[in-house]
């Protein structure tokens, strides 16, 4: 049903996304947000999806468990342990959400209900999926709060969200997400609203969950530093497409797509700009596309663009090592 490459490796993958495309019908016409995205996730693996606003990374994440609004047209395939989720009935998706695929969003304050205690909110998912007794729910909630590193969990369980700091709230969100021991945890910009000192702690919790529970994590971020810290493999997205996919060390050491290369040089990094007094810029803007063209969508901003780039879309292919894929007609020379 899906592509042959995805089928051949099905045994080792928990989640397989193949040729996922999403478009929205809006008042001002059609908008193509995601175009033929293919990615996968092995058990206990942390995969990072990186890109700027509007590149489709969040839409990709939301479409995995069917969280997009009705105005979204989704095609392609999302398979969880071989079961197809795209087009699955709402009743079976409800059994997947929270139990198999759980989400953490960027802003914990808007994702938490301000009038319920955090214990009640963590308990909700347990009542829905596990049908535990009230007492057992509370005990499990306390256990989960200490799992995510909240001190004096037995007392914190009766707190309301406003009584907690931003980092604590995000830990509560993580506790809710892992309550049913999900197979896949999707973390959409989990640390963007937090300070760096707090961010370090949250990333530590995510790593710890992977190590202890074997959860597979898909982390969506615009921050290359976060990716460098936590991801095993990286998917770089631009204007709805995957432009590069590689193991983390390979991507940072030998970025092959011109966009990845530019993004790395544009990020201020302590120590890296010691000698220079300028950051490299990427001219222009991320385009909003009504239809995906048969061309490289980065061509207009690319220093190496040629007529080929404007005339046909490059496919993902391996250049050096077989697990480093790039969709570029003029990849950056390996150095």
């Amino acid at each position: 049903m899906t592509t042959s490459t995805a089928g051949a490796r099905a045994g080792t993958k928990i989640l397989e996304v193949a040729d996922l495309s999403v478009s929205f019908v809006t008042e001002s016409g059609n908008v193509s947000a995601v175009d033929h995205v293919t990615l996968d996730l092995a058990p206990g693996e942390i995969v990072g999806v990186v890109g700027e606003s509007g590149c489709g990374k969040s839409v990709t994440a939301m479409s995995l468990a069917g969280l997009l609004p009705r105005s979204a047209r989704v095609t392609g395939s999302v398979r969880l342990r071989g079961t197809e989720l795209i087009g699955a009935p709402e009743t079976s998706l409800r059994r997947v959400r929270g139990k198999e695929i759980a989400y953490i969003f960027q802003e914990p304050m808007t994702s938490l209900n301000p009038v319920l205690t955090v214990g009640r909110q963590i308990g909700e998912v347990l009542q829905v999926h596990e049908r535990l007794s009230r007492k057992a729910v509370k005990a499990r909630a306390i256990e989960l709060l200490s799992l995510v590193g909240i001190p004096s969990a037995a007392r914190r369980v009766d707190n309301y969200p406003h009584q907690l700091s931003g980092g604590m709230r995000q830990r509560v969100m993580i506790a809710m997400a892992v309550a049913c021991n999900p197979t896949v945890l999707v973390a959409d910009e989990p640390t963007t609203a937090l300070d760096v000192t707090v961010q370090a702690g949250i990333l530590e919790v995510l790593r710890d969950l992977r190590d202890r529970l074997g959860t597979s994590i898909l982390i969506i971020t615009h921050d290359l530093g976060v990716i460098a810290d936590i991801a095993d493999r990286v998917v770089v997205m631009y204007a709805g497409r995957v432009v590069e996919r590689a193991p983390v060390t390979s991507l940072f050491a030998r970025p092959q797509h011109q966009y990845t290369h530019g993004l790395l040089n544009a990020s201020p990094t302590p120590g890296r700009h010691a000698g220079t007094d300028r950051l490299q810029e990427i001219p222009g803007l991320v385009p909003v596309l009504s239809k995906q063209p048969d061309a490289c969508t980065f061509a207009d901003r690319c220093p190496a663009a040629s007529d080929t780039c404007r005339g046909s879309a490059p496919g993902l292919s391996a250049l050096g090592s077989p697990d480093h894929l790039v969709a570029c007609w003029h990849p950056v020379e390996a150095t």
């Binding site: 700027e52 606003s53 700091s165 931003g166 980092g167 604590m168 830990r171 300070d195 760096v196 000192t197 707090v198 961010q199 370090a200 702690g201 990333l203 530590e204 615009h222 921050d223 290359l224 530093g225 976060v226 990716i227 460098a228 810290d229 991801a231 983390v248 060390t249 940072f252 050491a253 530019g262 993004l263 790395l264 544009a266 990020s267 201020p268 990094t269 302590p270 120590g271 890296r272 700009h273 010691a274 220079t276 007094d277 300028r278 950051l279 490299q280 810029e281 990427i282 001219p283 803007l285 991320v286």
Partner: protein
């Protein structure tokens, strides 16, 4: 020669909230100082006191030698053109019903000097040109522009009155990485060409590395450490500065994973009831008895200073990693 900005012992309390509690800072003419700290440290409040959007509880603010701390609105008017501010969110700081040209021209319209229409038009074009926007943009509305372009409009508005001091309050935090790079480059270029002094307020230490001459690190209303850029980046003295630098991930997986993590815990103490002694002691891995009882003095080291009991004038400094449980 007078300094562009002199803040001494600035205190700003909002009722019981002690947002800024004794901050002293000097920026020479044409100098760039970064004020770095986490959310809730009071860094933006310092900026607002400098442009007198807030009236400080006590302490003094001198801009170009003039004490503006307690001037009335009317008395402030002539000084308004010497200091400008750029805010974090360009969408929120530009009036959506005004044309970009009018937004940029407003500081001139409000200034006491009479300027002809033609001259105003010329200055708007010039100012837009400086920030890399075409003069046609003047006839557009802010919503027609991208985030990066809007931030350029804010910068053009801030610079049209030819200020000697620019307060940049997180000017790139709402922008994407590639756009952030171009706005930072623009600010650096303008600063070098025009020579205004700049107080660059940010939570992102890495964004200031190639822009700032000096860096001041703020925590819970007070300065923890001050120093030149190279001093702060290569030899931070205060445990908080060290922790802040250690927490910012570097975009290099090999180097990043080889670093010793320094985890401070999530809870920034409340500014309603800040800790006694050193304010950082509740999160400091190296805190000992004296930290709770005595406020550490600002010890001079090199060209800077740090407020920590473990820092000594001879250059002895603590290593925060020593206090981290492995």
């Amino acid at each position: 020669m007078t300094n562009a900005l002199e803040i001494s012992d600035l205190v700003m309390h909002f009722g019981p909230v002690r947002a800024v509690d004794g901050v002293s800072l000097t920026i020479p003419r044409g100098g760039v100082t970064a004020l770095v700290g986490e959310s809730g440290s009071g860094k933006s409040t310092v900026g607002k006191c400098v442009v007198r959007l807030l009236k400080p509880t006590s302490g003094t603010v001198r801009i170009g030698g003039v004490d503006v701390t307690s001037l009335t609105r009317r008395q402030l008017r002539p000084h308004r053109s010497t200091v400008s501010i750029v805010f974090q969110d360009p969408a929120g700081s530009l009036d959506p019903r005004m044309l970009v040209g009018d937004v940029v021209a407003e500081p001139l319209r409000l200034s006491s000097s009479r300027i002809s229409r033609a001259e105003r038009q010329r200055r708007v074009d010039e100012s837009l040109g400086q920030v890399g926007l075409r003069s046609e943009v003047a006839r557009r509305y802010p919503h027609e522009l991208s985030g990066g372009q809007r931030q350029r409009v804010s910068i053009a508005r801030a610079l049209i009155s030819k200020p000697s001091l620019l307060i940049a309050d997180e000017p790139t935090s709402a922008l994407d990485v590639s756009v952030q790079a171009s706005v930072l480059n623009l600010l650096a270029d303008l600063q070098r060409d025009i020579g205004f002094a700049c107080l660059f307020i940010t939570h992102n230490l890495s964004a200031v590395e190639y822009l700032a001459d000096e860096i001041a690190v703020m925590y819970l209303g007070q300065l923890m450490e001050k120093g030149t850029r190279s001093q702060i980046f290569s030899g931070p003295a205060h445990p908080y500065t060290q922790a802040l630098l250690a927490a910012a991930p570097v975009a290099d997986p090999v180097a990043q994973r080889a670093r010793t993590p320094v985890l401070l815990g999530d809870d920034l103490p409340s500014a309603l009831d800040p800790p006694s002694g050193c304010r950082f002691r509740t999160r400091c891995p190296l805190a000992f008895d004296k930290c709770a009882t005595e406020v550490p003095p600002h010890v001079k080291i090199g060209n800077g200073e740090a407020a920590c009991h473990l820092v000594q004038a001879d250059g002895t400094r603590p290593d925060v990693r020593a206090g981290v449980k492995q």
